[in-house]
Amino acid sequence: MFRSLLFIPGNNPSMLQNADVFLADAIIFDLEDAISINEKNNARNLVKNYLVTSSVLPNQVILRVNSINTEWFKKDIELLKTNKIDYLLIPKLDKLNLLGVEEYLNSFEKDNNLEETKIIALVETARGVNDLPLFAENKRIIALMLGAEDLASDLQIKRTETGEEIFYARSKIIYAAVDYNLIAIDTPYTNINNLEGLIKDATYAANLGMKAKVCIHPNQLEVVNKVFSPSEQEIKWAKEVIKISQEKPGSGAFQFQGKMIDKPILDRAEKILVKAKQFNLM
């Protein structure tokens, strides 16, 4: 479960050294877009050494590898041998790419006696969005992440502050995630100095159904964690609802604070409490 995921460029030693101190639920060590071609090998070596030697790692470690269509993909996958990576973030995923990734991972894992690696699908092409119903059910996939900047490039459109242009993609990801019990992760908000804009963007995404958001600067984490956490009032409400339902087992629907509480509402209350416990909010 995530609320916030923070990208850290793989070639930045001071950021790597401090990766565990930030408020992110997971850290994504980036070997792809944040790394120039000349730095690819350096970044990979640095991340590898960091994972192997560091005594303090983030709670959840994600590695964004280069796309399967690049010369770096296989070298990046070698880092799975460190046994320190929880998930791979696979860029530009669509049905066809996933087939290739899965085939390579099956063989790599078998050769190296590794357990099955779970994947976060980075959906950032029109084909990826269209293919969602075709690959979201893959057993390796645990989350779907929207990459709106690359998607906008693919669509040859401009990104806007209000994000109307990615409404369709956001919705597709959210619906596929719910359908296959995956985590829907929203695209980053790229203006790192505009926290007000981030609040609006994250709140909008959360209201649509996104469950987490990627951050590209540590300053964004506090806002994102807050937006994607249940509020104090929600936790209080959920506790009371569950308490009443436990006091009246088998009584079906009941009224609370003037509103009808039935199974869907009880489920929602339970999910709020699970999340609150997970993130030490109660």
Binding site: S14, M15, Q17, N18, V21, F22, S54, S55, V56, H217, P218, N219, E222, N280
Partner: protein, 506 residues
Amino acid sequence: MINGVGRFIPEGMQPFVSSDNFLTKERRLISKKRKQSKTVFLDNIEEVFDVLGIDSNMTISFHHHLRNGDKVIQMVSEEIGKRDIRSLNFAPSSIFPSYTKLVDLIKNGNVNEIHTNYLNGEVARVISQGHLKGKLVMNTHGGRARAIESGDLNIDVAFIASPVVDKFGNGHGAIGKSACGTLGYSISDLQYAKKVVLVTDTLVEKLENYQLDGKFVDYVLIVDSIGDRMGIVSGTTEITKDPIGLKIAKDCADLLNYIGLIKNNFSMQTGAGKTSLAVVKYVEEIMKKNHIIGSFASGGITKAYVDMLEGGIFKQLYDVQCFDLEAVSSFAKNKNHIAMTASEYGNPFEKEPVCDKLDFVILGATEIDLDFNVNVTTDSMGNLIGGSGGHADIAYGSNVTIIISPLIKSRIPIVKEKVMTVTTPGSDVDILITERGIAINPKRTDLREKLTNSQFPIFEIAELLEISHKITGVPNKIETDEQIIGYVEYRDGTYLDCIRKVKNGY
């Protein structure tokens, strides 16, 4: 003998006992100087040296308000070099990298003793290597004022850079082409030095208001330039962009808010570092959100505080030294931007020094040890890189003293079992905030109680040491040379620690 912070102090020197031991002592004051005749105006430094008879073994003082832009100490150093005057004592309130001419004076034995509050650059390097033939004494801003007024530091000639002087010998810091703002560190020198020379590049008919009273001034030396006012800018006028610095600053502001220190009429002081400025910004946000108006901020003043004064968020600023040009112009025009002398700021024997009225201070550290002793004088290898300035003064005076620092700087842990040099006793340090955890001095049971059930990551300081060692490994022990090159003097005149020569090869 071993002093109150467990450090060796040679026999014959007053050992530090405790930071409040001065309360058992009486204030000692020598007479303020009495000028014998009218102020004399001169226009070349040779004449000044001739009429004053500057000679061996005299003590000459300077202030550092022009900081890295100061030319007065350079000018005087050059003349000493030309005349090859030997065995002088220098007492500048601080020494900056631009004071290059002092380097040769030290190496050649022209200057044998130095009494200052802060030093870095080449002068610090040559002293660290043992080139100063006598001793270096590092004390605090408030302690320097105490030493001068008590006669412990006898000044023969004070050269005081004054951006403007009038025909009566009065001076001011906020007017003139070299305006640098308040002149708080020079007031004790002005009042107690045997002879006072104001050095200026701007002469006016009459000043209505002045900081330097002509009744103490023997000579005015008029020169082309006393310095470059751009040199006062500390290079720390921008808030840090470093995510670790920002995290520490945010945690610091949140903690201050959580323990109830950001309340109406509170007072604060911070350093001028980039992370400190971020703390100021976050504190300002909390104040605005909760409609809080502070009583005063003090210290070296920066634009960040000027903005808060002008925005009505603080009622007053007490300024001993302007850290940027915005602070200089604010001081010149805003009656609530108030100059204070070093004595009013931090002299332990003042009745109500400003440092004693502070609710909290945010300070830095090069090292901090398991007893919360702080070192800002030397680096971990023993090289001189700074000094107390007002660190120990405000750490003692403030209700809550907070040290902010990354736990690891350039792969060196800042928490040590024992600091290389004690600048500020741990009894005056309450909280350490790092990116990986917060430690509270065990003697502050009140703060520990308040934070027990908080979400802040509270650790014992020994646990923070352990965490840092897990990351970096245990650093090798650093050896210093046996030769003592100087002392850290506490604000009450007792000795906190010895400074030793850096071992060859470090």
